[in-house]
Amino acid sequence: MNNLNIIDLGLTEYQRALEIQKTLVKDRLSNLTTDTLLLVEHPHVVTLGKQTNPEDVLNNSIPIIKIDRGGSATYHGPGQLIGYIIMDLKNKGISVPVLISKIHEIIILTLNELGIKAKRRKDNTGVWIDEKKIASIGLSVRNWITYHGFSLNVNTDLEKFNTIRPCGYDSQVMTSINSIKRNQYSEELVKKKIINNFSKVFEYNRIKSLGKN
């Protein structure tokens, strides 16, 4: 089976989106659904992955949630495109490192199409434009089903990263598509490109759009 469901949830609370992911993981495990790409934006929230150093949280002006993904602290908010990936790795026949590599590829391809030269770094997950980080990746795998995923700054208010040290870096490290491209691109366009590259890179041949999109 090489089908993909795409669900565009729009603006959704972090916890609600996490519940949906967990339901999808269960359904995927019992083969009630296919692999799914959940697209979502969150209201302002800071999430702490399992590798968070307590010193990376500078203040609590934004609600903070501790969660079970890999990685450390990050901020999510309006203008940031989030892709949660529910994928059966066994069925797809790919390993965790390949999965991570392909997520990088999808984001880099998308940015290239928008005229932004992005790259990955050997020492660090995420997608980088020179010394600035534009996308973060953090995942969990249970019974070889993935959840969590990536976040890409499109129109993100970068000031909001100031409450944390994102992934242990100074908050100035973050950048976004529209701070590079002077508000040229809509989130809808970026979303379309992400969907397109996701299907291509992971070689899904049947794609079904559910929800808002």
Binding site: R69, G138, S140, N143, K192
Partner: protein
């Protein structure tokens, strides 16, 4: 029977990670696929499921420690008696061999995980016949599945649909999916081009490989200049027809891997010798698979010279998102009525496919007329060069 499971055996592709949590302890009875341990590896937390039913005899590194590839992270006893008919041996960790079940079936060592063996059994396949592609001769799930297909169709060959072939397929499918393809054909007299080509060759001091193609490129650029909407693309996202000011001419090239289209950038600024040279260089790079990505991008119009191989007529597929493509068919001697006489001349059919969403038949008919005029008076193309 006791199984030693190493990190690499159950944590597919995971080479090293920090053990963050054990869900089980020694003495616990576990079911297959029950979570045993959580490992954190760069930005990913992975819960490793139990590979078998049984009792935990031993667990590996404690929480907070690093688990390395090849390290035994759990030992499980399934409580079953060892099957005396099969010679089963579990290698001790010291030998650094895979902790897999090895059986001697007709003198051949079988290395496979229990899951793969079960799969083979379920599919009714004699695992002894399966060709192993895994590490150290291990039979993988894929091997078993492939074998099942080969067994049924032994007179077929399966070639992975990947790489260049797949890219070609995707691009053509996209073109066929989006473009409203229409087609027009014209017959053109090439005699004067043949004569001019030979003349240039003889008079040239340099050894150049001059083919018909540079003349077509020249004629196409001259004609595109008077039909700018053909040197264009359709941007469906912004709903604009994008007229290109540079003439970047793609040349469809046959290679071992399949069709590739190197692009002559800013061909309007190059003379016939420069174009000839560039075509030759790009073609060599394409055929040896050394073409740089940037030399295949940014095309504004494509020419395919299928006739050099054969075929008197063809219908090319538009190289999306371009809006038209020209196919040159076989140049051949034909008896025609020419300037009041019946004579044999070099003739060729040119076929042009176009995106009818952007262009109409009249546009491309005028474009082909212009190409015909240029090629039937090729000296005029050379005059371009002095100006």
């Amino acid at each position: 029977m006791v199984y030693n499971f190493k990190l690499a055996d159950i944590g597919e592709g995971i080479v090293e990670g920090e053990v963050s949590k054990w869900y089980v302890k020694v003495g616990d009875v576990v079911k297959e696929n029950q979570p045993l341990v959580e490992i954190i590896t760069e930005k990913v937390t992975v819960e490793l499921p139990s590979p078998a039913d049984g009792t935990i005899i031993k667990i590996g590194p404690e929480a907070g420690k690093i688990a390395k590839v090849g390290e035994v992270i759990v030992v499980i006893d399934d409580g079953k008696e060892e099957d005396v008919n099969k010679e089963v041996s579990i290698e001790e960790t010291k030998t650094e061999k895979k902790e897999l079940i090895k059986e001697d079936v007709k003198g051949k060592k079988i290395i496979a995980t229990p899951a793969v063996k079960r799969l083979a059994k379920e599919m009714g396949i004699d695992i002894g016949k399966v060709v192993a592609t895994g590490e150290e001769g291990r039979i993988t799930e894929k091997d078993v599945k492939l074998y099942s297909k080969l067994e049924i169709h032994s007179n077929e060959e399966r070639i992975a649909f990947r790489g260049t072939r797949r890219t070609i397929a995707e691009r053509l499918a996209k073109s066929s999916d989006r473009v409203v393809q229409a087609w027009i054909m014209e017959e053109i007299d090439m005699t004067k081009v043949t004569e001019l080509k030979n003349k240039i060759k003889e008079s040239s001091s340099e050894e150049i490989k001059l083919t018909y193609m540079p003349f077509f490129v020249k004629a196409v650029i001259r004609s595109l200049k008077s039909s700018p909407r053909i040197n264009a693309s359709l941007d469906e996202e912004t709903e604009d027809i994008v007229i290109k000011k540079d003439y970047n001419i793609g040349i469809a090239t046959d290679t071992e891997q399949g069709l590739v289209v190197p692009v002559i950038k800013k061909a309007q600024d190059k003379n016939i010798n420069e174009i000839a040279k560039e075509i030759e260089e790009l073609s060599i790079e394409a055929k040896s698979g050394k073409l740089e990505l940037e030399n295949t991008q940014g095309g504004t119009f494509t020419i395919t010279n299928i006739g050099a191989i054969g075929g008197i007529s063809s219908i090319p597929i538009v190289n999306y998102p371009e809006v038209a493509i020209l196919a040159i068919n076989k140049i051949m001697k034909k008896v025609v009525h020419w300037e009041g006489e019946i004579v044999a001349r070099d003739r060729v059919y040119l076929s042009l496919s176009f995106d009818h969403r952007v262009l109409d038949g009249a546009d491309v008919a005028r474009f082909l007329n212009s190409i015909r005029k240029c090629l039937e008076d090729p000296e005029s193309l050379m005059k371009d060069e002095q100006s």
